[in-house]
Subunit: 286 residues, 2 copies
Amino acid sequence: MTIIDRYPSRVGAVPEIIERHDPVVWNAEIDGGPLSAEQLAHYADAGYVIIEDVLTSDEAERLNAYAQELIDAAEGAIAVNEPDSSQRRSLFAVHESDPKFSPLTRTGLLAAAARQILGSGVYVHQSRINCKRAFVGKAFPWHSDFETWHVEDGMPAMRALSCSLALTENTAINGPLMVIPGSHRSYASCAGRTPERHFEESLRRQSYGVPEDAHLSAMAQESEIVAVKMRPGSVCMFDCNLMHGSPNNMTPYDRTNLFVVFNSVANRLVEPFGGTEPRPTYLASR
Amino acid sequence: MTIIDRYPSRVGAVPEIIERHDPVVWNAEIDGGPLSAEQLAHYADAGYVIIEDVLTSDEAERLNAYAQELIDAAEGAIAVNEPDSSQRRSLFAVHESDPKFSPLTRTGLLAAAARQILGSGVYVHQSRINCKRAFVGKAFPWHSDFETWHVEDGMPAMRALSCSLALTENTAINGPLMVIPGSHRSYASCAGRTPERHFEESLRRQSYGVPEDAHLSAMAQESEIVAVKMRPGSVCMFDCNLMHGSPNNMTPYDRTNLFVVFNSVANRLVEPFGGTEPRPTYLASR
């Protein structure tokens, strides 16, 4: 069976904006899921929604203390450092390693909300902690997650989403998630071709799958960029194709977030559309 | 005559927090200056004050267009590029080169406000445009201006201030000025010794005169960091010893500001306290 690439990117062509072919909210019926009609409408329109106080601030504080222990103890490829630094940037596959994170994954509120949006059963495609430590936490440039998951992991359709749980306060100035509302409705095809084992560099500093400045400007002209502010324990759920990034954290306040990515069981990974070897399963569960 | 160094820094000693020896507002009497008692009190307490709409938005837009022409045309040492880049970062000595900026300097509202705060006549110590261009504008790390002006220029007392005029909108996310309110009341003496001609590197990327993380954390614990949001045409006046910095601008929105520094005529420069040659006059007027 030949699978048609509906979202070509990094295939050497001129970068361009492509129309989205998939729904955003796959289940128009609200069948007793945790999200209200209003929250679903906001998600469909803006590409993200904030759910306040999924954990209490005490629970978030305890989970953060535990996350810091894991980060400090971690070894091997799942632990990624900041560019040109021995400071920790990300820790992957945390849902597998530890039952303390399991309420946030298969069985909990977020999975239920993900099923509601994606209109099917879901599984965890990826999980990670992004450390963004005070003074040293470096930026994540603008990108669509889907672009990478499609090209490097073989995710066929835009039927996945991320949950970013604040373990510390996310303010406007400590390197928060920034999103371009509405940008999930179009797809910024990128320049270049992906080298093999690109992820070894890209998790520290991305140089392929980077959208054009002109495309970003056009998206940000249609809708003002939003810096997502959250109390510890609150969650931002956002579409896999929402254009987002986050700046350096030069403040003395840590910005540590736990990410869980849900993919639809109807959207399982195939061969990467960029023609490279699939990435390791700690980055893309198969 | 031997001048005692009341604010030693970069003299090879252990970095420490030193008490401020100088007043913040030098003229307690309000003798018909443009600042209200409330504005002066805010300045004394927090170390900065925002004056809204010094220029109309139209005037600011025209001045910005003109500033961009100057930036593009500029050559020589007064034009400084971003680190590892051919993109313009700063342009110095703009008040000298151009009568269009003169209302902002000797004769205008800002000079009158500066005289009110500093309790004396004033002159322009330095002027510059900080470009902070969309996508490429890089951070200015945390620092006290006075620390550099004292060590590298020989400014004896904390009797100077900066005016930052917004030529474009300054939002929370396009690389705004961040200040630690109240930090102007103590002095963070820094490590190291200044190399000769340090400014050639430091204007692009500062590596001396950088305060300790622990000192910054202590200051930011006493008082929450503020990102200064301003409409085009508004001005932030801030004390020469206020701890401040500004992050990268990764948004598609330029953040271009015009800076004018006023020093008291009673605080003229002497030999640099760091023992190096004085910096060029486009950085420190003598």
